[in-house]
């Protein structure tokens, strides 16, 4: 697949912020992998490493008033959206200072402040929610866009079809963001989808759809801005297929029997962080010292998040049955 030429570099401060955002996700998750072996983080842990450009570039194109719906591989979306690294890390530890009070863990990050409607651990489970959030915005006459993230694998589920049809039928402001990383666990795209051109499939619902180089954060941001503008202007749902790749196993339990090391190595040559950093170096807006400073800044933010999580507290067992129904004092 050849993509259109990459867009020009934005102004230096925006380029730096994109680079910083991707680097934060990368270093944050590398830390998570370590903490997983130390058993500070438990349960399932799905890393986004390799795919950082998708969340970073697309969320950069959203406004504060927009909403985000994500999957169980959502640390990147949460951080890019501005959920503090501290409360994300505390959530991964299961501490009550976490963004979901520790109840959800890695797969269930939530944050009302940034309209982050969750990690969802059921494949395709978030799609109908996104349609509903967009329906609410539409009925309330608000120009919010709902960005909905899901994997290539989710496109085989019935909920994908139902959501696409509803959104298109009712002309709702949803941006469908497919993260096509070529695999659903160990199942490659070709053995899961009868039509592997995913953007083409989306067009059959009568909505604009196009593929995007998901390793190029500038291309991601550019495409998303274009789509968001149109969605916000009443153009109905749009679909973006971000072609990307996860560098790590599906989860911490995956022996990776289904793909070759060569394939992984080939994709690593297009590491989204390196791609952007190189562009910036070529343009003379990044040098070794600048990169070192950025690394140091990000390392501090990650360390700080770990400290925050370590110092956090366990929710008392007496509160176990809270949040099954709304607390009386908060119920309207």
């Amino acid at each position: 697949m050849t993509f259109p030429p990459s867009p020009p570099l934005p102004d230096p401060s925006h380029a730096h912020s994109l680079l910083r955002s991707m680097l934060l996700v990368r270093r944050f998750e590398e830390k998570c992998a370590e903490l997983y072996t130390e058993q500070k983080i438990r349960g399932f842990l799905h890393l986004y490493i390799g795919e950082e450009a998708v969340a970073t570039g697309s969320i950069a194109a959203l406004e504060r008033r927009d909403s985000v719906v994500a999957t169980y591989r959502e640390h990147g979306q949460a951080l890019a959206r501005g959920v503090p690294a501290t409360t994300v890390m505390a959530e991964m530890f299961g501490k009550q200072e976490g963004c979901a009070r520790g109840r959800g863990g890695s797969m269930h990050l939530f944050d009302a402040e940034t309209r982050f409607y969750g990690g969802n651990a059921i494949v395709a489970g978030g799609l109908p929610l996104a349609v509903g959030l967009a329906l609410a915005a539409h009925m309330q006459g608000e120009d919010r866009v709902t960005a909905c993230y899901f994997g290539d694998g989710a496109m085989a589920e019935g909920e994908f079809h139902e959501s696409m049809n509803l959104a298109a039928l009712w002309n709702l402001p949803v941006l469908f963001c497919c993260e096509n990383n070529l695999y659903a666990m160990g199942t490659a795209l070709e053995v899961a989808q009868a039509e592997t051109d995913l953007a083409l499939r989306a067009t059959s619902y009568g909505m604009p759809a196009w593929p995007v180089d998901g390793m190029d954060v500038l291309a991601v941001e550019h495409a998303t801005r274009r789509a968001v503008q149109s969605v916000r202007a009443g153009g109905g749902p749009h679909f973006l297929e971000f072609r990307t790749y996860r560098f790590r196993p599906h989860s911490m339990f995956d022996p990776e029997l289904y793909r070759s090391r060569d394939e992984v190595a080939e994709w690593k040559k297009r590491d989204p962080i390196v791609l952007l950093a190189n562009r910036m170096r070529e343009a003379g807006i990044l040098d070794d010292a600048g990169m070192d400073a950025l690394e140091a800044e990000v390392a501090e933010e990650v360390d700080n998040s770990v400290r925050f999580a370590e110092e956090g507290s366990w929710e008392p067992v007496e509160e176990l049955t809270r949040f099954v129904h709304s607390d009386p004092e908060v119920a309207e």
Binding site: R42, G43, F44, G94, K95, G102, R103, G104, G105, M107, H108, N120, A121, I122, V123, A124, G125, G153, A154, A156, E157, G158, E159, A184, M185, G186, T187, A188, V191, A192, Q193, D254, P255, L257, Y258, W314, E315, V317, L320, T321, F323, V324
Partner: protein, 330 residues
């Protein structure tokens, strides 16, 4: 022969595939990935992609296709990764698999086996920790089986495949790594009837799946206190083995029912009702229940532990019955 629960299930699948050409395994990541709990590891190499059939993420579609294939003369084993994802296939399971025989006036039976992992205890949070065996046990037309031991894991699959109607096998996730001895020539095991796993005279601990092992541990603790607990492994949740349930209660006069599922409207409620209906005058105390606390399973270890039935809860409930107090926990 030393083996694990996981290997016992795998051997059962292998044997069935060899014995009957109509048998095939279908589900998400059963082939190239080797199964999400590594149950089917190596089977793709042995039987090929036609019979170890990787499916897309499409629970409703492939479960329904399993029903259709069963109608069409095959003997499918459909693997749904976990009970949590089976909700996407509920319509096919309940409206088709469980109902076609009746609606067709007996013309079309559905010889389908569905396997799925169930249960909590691995800190994978609410959407991945459900125990809803009791839900499925509510549905006429289904047989619900929960193999707990290695022998049952090895032997029940074949019996399930021989059944002319749909059978769902629930495998608790914490059992896959369980090790033990299995005879080289381990054969089929009936999917009917409960089994007493430990004899006792003072109190009956009635349970299934992972609960069996928690109950056996509790029985050890109780024995040290001079209390003789009998452990009944239900094995089949639909139909329930009424005879075995009433027999143990008539013997011990006290019952503690243990279920990871929630108490309200759960299988524990059904068992308790049958005990009071069938053995009311044999009871020395009201039946007690130790169930999952009525909350979606939280992620942190200490809250998850508190949300699920644990050995001390069972011991306490049993003590409560013997001291004449109320036995309900959670």
């Amino acid at each position: 022969m030393k083996t694990t629960y996981r290997e016992a299930v795998r051997e059962a699948i292998r044997e069935a595939m060899h014995r009957d050409e109509r048998v095939f395994l279908m589900g998400e990541d059963v082939g190239r990935y080797g199964g999400c709990y590594a149950v089917s590891k190596g089977l793709l190499e042995e039987f090929g992609p036609e019979r170890i059939r990787d499916t897309p993420l499409a629970e409703s579609g492939f479960t329904g296709a399993g029903i259709g294939a069963a109608l069409g003369g095959m003997r499918p084993i459909v693997e749904i990764m976990t009970v949590n994802f089976s909700f996407l296939a509920l319509d096919q399971i309940v409206n088709n698999a469980a109902t076609l025989l009746h609606m067709s006036g007996g013309a079309f039976n559905v010889p389908l086996v569905i396997r799925m992992a169930t249960g909590g205890g691995r800190q994978v949070a609410a959407q991945h920790s459900r125990s809803l065996e009791g839900w499925y046990a509510h549905i006429p037309g289904l047989r619900i089986v929960a193999p707990a031991t290695l022998d049952d894991a090895r032997g029940m699959l074949w019996s399930a495949l021989e059944d002319p109607d749909p059978v769902i096998l629930f495998e608790h996730v914490l059992l896959y790594n369980m090790e033990g001895e299995l005879p080289e020539q381990a054969g089929p095991v009936s999917i009917e009837g409960a089994a007493v796993r430990r004899e006792g005279t003072d109190v009956s601990l009635i349970t299934f799946g992972i609960g069996v092992f928690k109950a056996l541990e509790a029985a050890e603790v109780l024995a040290e206190e001079g209390v003789s607990a009998e452990v009944l492994d239900l094995r089949s949740l639909r139909p329930l083995d009424d005879r075995a349930i009433l027999e143990t209660v008539r013997k011990t006069h006290r019952a503690v029912i243990i279920d990871e599922g929630w108490r309200s409207g759960g299988i524990s409620a059904e068992i308790s009702a049958r005990i009071t209906e069938g053995a009311f005058y044999d009871l020395d105390a009201p039946p007690a229940r130790v169930c999952g606390v009525e909350v979606p399973t939280p992620y942190p270890e200490h809250l998850e532990r508190a949300a699920l039935p644990q050995v001390p809860d069972i011991v306490e409930a049993a003590r409560g019955l013997l001291s004449g107090g109320e036995g309900d926990v959670a």
